[in-house]
């Protein structure tokens, strides 16, 4: 049987973080009462004229610059015509053959283009099914209509649902750190469609693609793509052909249904927007966009890896969540040149994050916790120097999270100081050996398994303050192993 591979391209719409709409001065406020932010322009009244929001263009240019795309020298808008109540003019002002940005790349996926356009309004259907169809009248809220959008189109370089969702996470974090969008998938400020086709492994031509619309979470994106790839494989294996169509994935049932598209034929009749003659992109907008690019997640991860010596996984974890990355850098700075950066990364990425976790999809910011970077740096140093063992360190962190303060006094107050080297610990180990003659017999034959019993005994006696490695070392020393 032939093996198939998926070929996936993504189209991502992001609402740009401007104060006002793309072509008029209506303010953008998510969650306000319906139809309280409209004017003759965004209601599509005859005789009105659009005027381009410079900030939307600047944010679009920032996206292009961040991804290394080619920035257009002039702004050219086109009309995309279709009749639908969410589009009061009967057309959307978009871009066509001269997008704001051409090419570019983010991580493992190349980009085809980035263009700017206006968002449609929000249509609420009277039917309670939650899906289009079955209702007889609908209500339109034009608050969202005219919101500036950037549409980011990737090349068909994605080969799995998992790759799609992890790349999309990287994109979302990069856009967030660029500050160009809220990238909130639940509120719809980042929306993703996937173009999906399959082909026999080894083939280089592209199969007929379908478009899976508007998946609003990373989980749905993975599920939806997997379901559609499986559907296409079934279609092809049953000897039929995949039809080019627009599809809807229902995450509750896992089923895929065909959407009757807005304009059956996709006949959008693009033509140059007569109300907006082309305009040169102003040099100061370009300069401002270029000057506004911060260090982005991939570059930061690379710096954490090469300059601070973190493992790849830690570097990405901290760099892809800005709050964690900032906190990490503050802790490293507080720890001075002697600090063990990988250990600091581990404590932040595992122990601290787990203690602060505020639920799925909300990333905790350690800077807002009671744990000062300097305290964490000190804690990591204490554990590193074996002044306290790791278990005790975790208890100290519990206290730091709950009360703040510095590790030193907490170690003293809670009696967590490790029982140091030889002198203090040796009698305890000796006692443990005396109490476990069977274990000692086995240890003497070179079978190190029973060491666990000895360490356990010592830990009980010292209330967990001993260092396991030190107990092993002393055991070997005493028994002459």
């Amino acid at each position: 049987m032939t093996a198939f591979e998926p070929v996936i391209g993504l189209e991502i719409h992001v609402q740009l973080a401007t104060r006002t709409k793309m072509f008029c001065g209506c303010e953008l406020v998510f969650g306000d009462p319906p139809n309280t932010h409209t004017c003759p322009v965004c209601l599509g009244m005859p005789g009105t004229l659009p005027v381009v929001n410079a900030e939307a263009i600047r944010l679009g240019l920032m996206i292009g610059e961040a991804f290394g795309g080619e920035l257009a020298e002039r702004l050219v808008f086109h009309r995309k015509s279709y009749f639908y109540p969410d589009l009061p003019k009967g057309y959307q002002i978009s871009q066509f053959d001269e997008p704001l940005v051409s090419g570019g790349r983010l991580g493992d996926v190349g980009l085809e283009r980035v263009h700017v356009e206006e968002d449609a309004a929000k249509l609420t259907h009277a039917g309670a099914s939650g899906r289009i169809g079955g209702s007889t009248s609908s209500v339109v809220d034009y608050n969202r209509g005219g919101t500036p959008l950037a549409e980011i189109v990737t090349l068909p370089e994605i080969r799995s649902a998992e790759q799609a969702s992890s790349w999309l996470r990287l994109l979302r974090e990069t856009l967030r750190q660029l500050g160009v969008s809220d990238v909130n998938m639940e509120e719809g400020s980042l929306r993703c469609d996937a173009n999906i086709s399959i082909r026999p492994v080894g083939d280089t031509t592209l199969g007929t693609k379908t478009e899976l619309k508007n998946m609003n979470s990373f989980r749905f994106i993975e599920q939806g793509i997997n379901a559609e790839v499986a559907r296409q494989i079934r279609v092809v294996e049953s000897g039929e052909r995949v039809q080019q169509e627009t599809l809807h994935f229902d995450p509750r049932t896992g089923s895929i249904t065909s959407l009757r598209s807005k304009e059956g034929s996709h006949d959008y009749r693009y033509f140059p927007e007569p109300d907006l003659p082309p305009v040169q992109v102003p040099a100061e907008l370009l300069e401002s966009a270029r000057a506004s690019i911060p260090e982005l997640p991939l570059q930061r991860a690379e710096r954490f890896r090469t300059e601070l010596g973190l493992h790849e996984e830690s570097a990405r974890l901290l760099a892809f969540r800005r709050a964690l990355g900032d906190y990490f850098e503050a802790t490293v700075a507080a720890g001075g040149p002697e600090a063990d950066r990988q250990q600091i990364a581990n404590w932040i990425g595992n122990d601290l994050v787990r203690r602060l976790d505020a639920g799925e999809d909300t990333d905790p910011d350690p800077a807002e916790s009671k744990v000062e970077p300097a305290s964490l740096a000190e804690l990591v140093a204490l554990v590193g120097a074996k002044t306290i063992n790791r278990k005790a360190g975790e208890k100290v962190l519990d206290v730091l999270v709950a009360e703040g303060g510095t590790p030193g006094p907490i170690v003293e107050r809670e009696g967590l100081a490790a029982i140091g080297g030889g002198d203090e610990l040796r009698p305890v180990v000796q006692a443990a050996l005396d109490a476990n003659p069977d274990a000692v017999e086995k240890l003497k034959t070179g079978n190190m398994k029973p060491i666990g019993a000895i360490v356990g005994h010592v830990m009980r006696e010292t209330k967990g303050r001993a260092d396991g490695g030190e107990v092993t070392r002393l055991t070997r020393e005493i028994l002459g192993l």
Partner: protein, 94 residues
């Protein structure tokens, strides 16, 4: 010559209802318009940029500053049908 099917397709896209006796004249008129434009095709336009706009002036850009929106009652008052808070339309896919 534009045929009957093309006229009907364009009419659908434009949400126009044509009576049967309007279709043939429409086909003839649209063909005449296209024929007229065809004359441009006779010119040698190699290297000439398409003129999408005849305006000499260029579009200004706007600063991202809010300006007042319409009161909701005023906006909704323009609509043939409205609910308390929105424009009511026939369900597009019913």
């Amino acid at each position: 010559m534009i045929d009957r099917d093309t006229v009907l397709h364009v009419a659908t896209l434009s949400r126009l209802e044509l009576r049967d006796d309007e279709i043939e004249p429409m086909a003839r008129e649209l063909s005449a318009v296209l024929d007229h434009l065809e004359t441009i095709g006779e010119l040698d336009l190699e290297g000439v940029e398409p003129t999408a706009h005849v305006l000499a002036e260029r579009s200004p850009l706007r600063a991202d500053e809010p300006s007042p929106s319409l009161p909701r009652e005023v906006a909704l008052d323009q609509a043939p049908d409205a609910s308390d808070d929105g424009f009511r339309v026939p369900s597009p896919q019913a």
